[in-house]
């Protein structure tokens, strides 16, 4: 047992690497599993386009600033509403209403209770983080699918990640808004991150990062199939998980006075953009959602078919067996 409150930088980096790798892999594969099996409801008209990405990006830029000005009760309320909405969107197609709302209530309620009642004992933090991570993981899977099944393309996701790279760099290294945000969230319920704790050491991967990794992966699968999946997972693991943690270790090794924290998107954003350009160069234009679903039917010749909309106006989204 380590009685020292501060572990070595190497241990912390490896710990962070493990947590990020596990979190990112679970989010990516979970979102992919969902994409192949569940069809989300979508509006009668509309698909995700470039202007939606700009709107979303602007929203994400402004939102953290608002979080910093909110009192804690308001911040917790906003987070509870956000997670409830994300979970209800994602799991409405696969759960009956009663099970859906009982499940969401239990998850959010447990997070709120545990985040206030079980954080005084270091040993209990395992459970707090496990429960919170489950909420965050399910939310990331839901929202990533909402975007991609709504028509968001790999192109959009790549540019979104590239934009986040600039945003994260600026607001972590120059104006440490991200650090302030972590302080606002820490030790409170519904922390928007997956994490793990070993004694006094804590490693986390944020919801935003998970969302980008999961979204990028399933957008790549939708667009290019297996080559897209291979490329996306490789980029996520190398530039999303390994590089941000290990590069900090290397930089701090070179000059320990720097104590640099490199935000994940700083590496992943440019890599995601280059990965998209490479895929487009080699495999041509992206597939549409229609073409992706047709490819699923080719892989599995006799899946339960979803009736076309005009014949079944009251159709609700339902699972599709892959």
């Amino acid at each position: 047992m380590n009685n020292n409150l501060s572990s070595s930088p190497t241990f912390l980096a490896l710990f962070q690497l493990v947590v990020t790798t596990i979190g990112a892999t679970m989010a990516c594969l979970g979102a992919l599993y969902y994409l192949r099996r569940v069809r989300l409801e979508r509006p009668a008209i509309g698909r995700f386009n470039g202007r939606d990405v700009v709107f979303l990006f602007t929203f994400l830029v402004v939102l953290p600033g608002l979080y910093l000005f909110l009192p804690q009760w308001a911040l917790t309320t906003v987070l509870a509403i956000t997670f409830t909405a994300a979970l209800s969107i994602g799991f409405r197609p696969i759960l009956p209403p009663t099970a859906l709302w009982v499940g969401i209530g239990a998850l959010i309620g447990a997070d709120l209770w545990m985040g206030q009642r079980m954080i005084n004992d270091v040993a209990n933090w395992h459970y707090v983080w496990a429960e919170n991570s489950l909420v965050v993981l399910l939310a990331a899977i839901s929202v990533a699918n909402l975007y991609v099944q709504g028509g968001m393309q790999l192109r959009h996701m790549a540019w979104f990640a590239a934009g986040l790279a600039i945003y994260d760099s600026v607001f972590t290294i120059i104006w440490p808004v991200s650090n302030l945000l972590i302080r606002a969230f820490v030790n409170h319920p519904l922390f928007p991150a997956m994490g793990m704790r070993i004694h006094f050491d804590e490693a986390i991967v944020g919801l935003g990062d998970l969302l980008v990794y999961a979204g990028y992966t399933i957008a790549a699968v939708k667009a290019y199939g297996r080559p897209g999946l291979r490329t996306a997972l490789s980029l996520v693991l190398i530039f999303g998980a390994a590089m941000p943690t290990l590069s900090g270790l290397v930089i701090n090794f070179v000059d320990s006075r720097l104590d640099v924290v490199i935000p994940a998107q700083t590496y992943f954003g440019p890599a995601a953009l280059l990965g998209y350009l490479w895929l487009r160069h080699h495999y041509g234009r992206e597939r549409t959602m229609k073409e992706y679903l047709a490819s699923l039917n080719t892989e599995h010749p006799n899946p339960p078919t979803t009736p076309t909309i005009p014949e079944e106006p009251k159709l609700e989204s339902e699972p599709v067996v892959a």
């Binding site: 009668a44 509309g46 698909r47 028509g151 229609k290 679903l293 005009p310 106006p313």
Partner: protein, 477 residues
């Protein structure tokens, strides 16, 4: 997706508040719809509500109709000289009207439009395009349309067409309606422009030219009248043409009674499964009706109120009875020369008070158009023969006399029918009598020379247009 949501919200709010819709916004929604289909292959689950509105609930329907009526009447009282006088004479408060109290206002008839066309024009709207009725039922009436109306109707038509999969960017629409039907032609052209489809306006040219155009230049959609479809069908059969000669995927027919035998024959010859029998009338545009797979006529209830009145008493018709269609297009869907309670004199049979089971069951339905009220033949107090009955019977003859030409008279409760000789050529009298008897008609036939056919029953196909390819030889010959 977010901006599409904003556009839909803008459209919905304009509809709810009764304000003019932004036609540019609608055009962009059509583009959004095309992008949706490109990505997903079909619209989302709520597409039906976008097109037909969420008005399946009768109470919501009544509330919507009441608000539409009041909004329209208030505007007409202020802007339309004809209706300002009419409402004042009826002593009604336009702002307190409701469907139950409409009978206080006399119906508007075609003669009103012909005699005082300028009185119908609203003072706050500029005229853009005049369109006339074809005049097959008498002197034509002229309707002025505003630029807003033309942009609105084409955008709403394109939106509905794309959402229903009826008009797509890879379609080629051939329009065989009278070139003088400027409103209809304009809407077809503008609708195709918004969707990105190709449009070929031919008019009522000689049928062989229309067939050549259909076959050689690959039209996928055809818009025409029932009588011209009959001429096309006859010409195609004469030339030995069949489904393999055409790329059509649907045919839209409107303005006349389409018989089941002609529709079936056209399906076989042109290789289409869908023939949409639409109801549209220049005077009451944009109140349209469409026919479902069970043969009901369903009027759109978002753009206007449709009443079904007894053709003789003017009182609401009972279920199962014949009724004349009286339409009131709502503001903001009609704004230049609007009509209020316009009696179309088009007769339908009301359906029994039973729940509908067709694919358009959310909209009220009637039987198909039976013909004009003036064409009803009263053989006795309760024995009425409609033009549809006659057209169905004649067009079902083995001679395939499309379009049906006839003149019907009643003497002492007995039906007399004058038809061209070719209509029954090769059939003996007994077969002909049995044919009509099987269809509930006891008729005395009179045959005339085929040259007189067009004088018996004028149809839209008679409005033939001259071309250099098939120029009539009567001028200076």
């Amino acid at each position: 997706m977010l901006e599409t949501g904003v556009r839909q919200l803008r459209m919905a709010l304009a509809m709810v508040w009764g304000r003019r819709l932004n036609t540019g916004n609608l055009a962009r929604l059509v583009a959004d719809c095309l992008a949706t289909l490109e990505e997903f292959g079909e619209p989302g689950a709520d597409a039906g509500e976008v097109i037909d509105g969420p008005l399946a609930d009768p109470a919501a329907r009544l509330d919507f109709a009441t608000r539409g009526l009041r909004r329209t009447a208030v505007r007409l009282a202020a802007q339309s000289p004809f209706y300002a006088r009419r409402f004042a004479a009826a002593g009604v408060n336009p702002g307190r009207l409701d469907p139950a109290g409409l009978h206080a206002i006399p119906v508007t008839v075609k003669q009103d439009l012909i005699q005082r066309p300028d009185d119908f024009q609203c003072a706050d709207v500029s005229r853009y395009l005049a369109t006339r009725t074809t005049g097959t039922t008498g002197r034509p009436a002229e309707i002025w349309l505003s630029r807003y109306e033309m942009e609105l109707w084409s955008a709403m038509g394109a939106l509905a067409g794309v959402l229903r999969g009826e008009l797509m960017p890879d379609d080629v629409l051939q329009v065989n309606v009278s070139s003088r039907a400027t409103g209809s032609v304009h809407l077809n052209v503008a609708g195709c422009r918004l969707v990105g489809a190709a449009c070929r306006v031919l008019g009522i040219v000689p049928p062989d030219e229309a067939l050549d155009s259909l076959t050689q230049q690959g039209a996928t959609q055809l818009t025409t009248s029932a009588s011209y479809l009959g001429e096309l069908e006859t010409a195609a059969r004469r030339r030995g043409m069949g489904p393999n000669d055409f790329q059509l995927r649907s045919i839209d027919v409107g303005g006349e009674v389409l018989s089941t035998s002609l529709a079936a024959a056209a399906r076989d010859t042109f290789g289409v499964t869908i023939i949409r029998d639409l109801y549209a009338m220049t005077e009451v545009v944009p109140v349209f009706g469409r026919t479902c797979t069970q043969g009901h006529l369903h009027f759109d209830i978002n753009m206007g109120l449709v009443e079904y009145l007894d053709p003789h008493t003017g009182q609401p018709a009972e279920p199962g009875a014949l009724a004349t269609v009286v339409a009131t297009p709502f503001f903001p869907y009609r704004d230049c020369t609007p009509v209020f309670r316009y009696d179309t004199r088009d007769v339908v049979r009301r359906l029994p008070d039973e729940t509908l089971t067709c694919e358009v069951a959310a909209l009220p339905g009637t039987g198909p158009i039976e013909g004009k009220a003036d064409g009803l033949l009263h053989l006795g107090p309760h024995d009425v023969v409609t033009p549809r009955q006659l057209i169905e019977a004649i067009e079902a003859l083995p001679t395939r006399p499309w379009p049906a030409r006839y003149k019907a008279t009643v003497h002492d409760g007995h039906l007399g029918l004058t038809v061209p000789a070719s209509t029954v050529s090769g059939l003996n009298d007994a077969d002909v009598a049995r044919h009509f008897t099987d269809r509930g008609l006891e008729v005395t036939l009179t045959l005339v020379d085929d040259d007189e056919a067009t004088t018996l029953r004028p149809v839209r196909a008679d409005l033939h247009e001259t071309t250099f390819v098939a120029r009539p030889a009567l001028i200076g010959a």
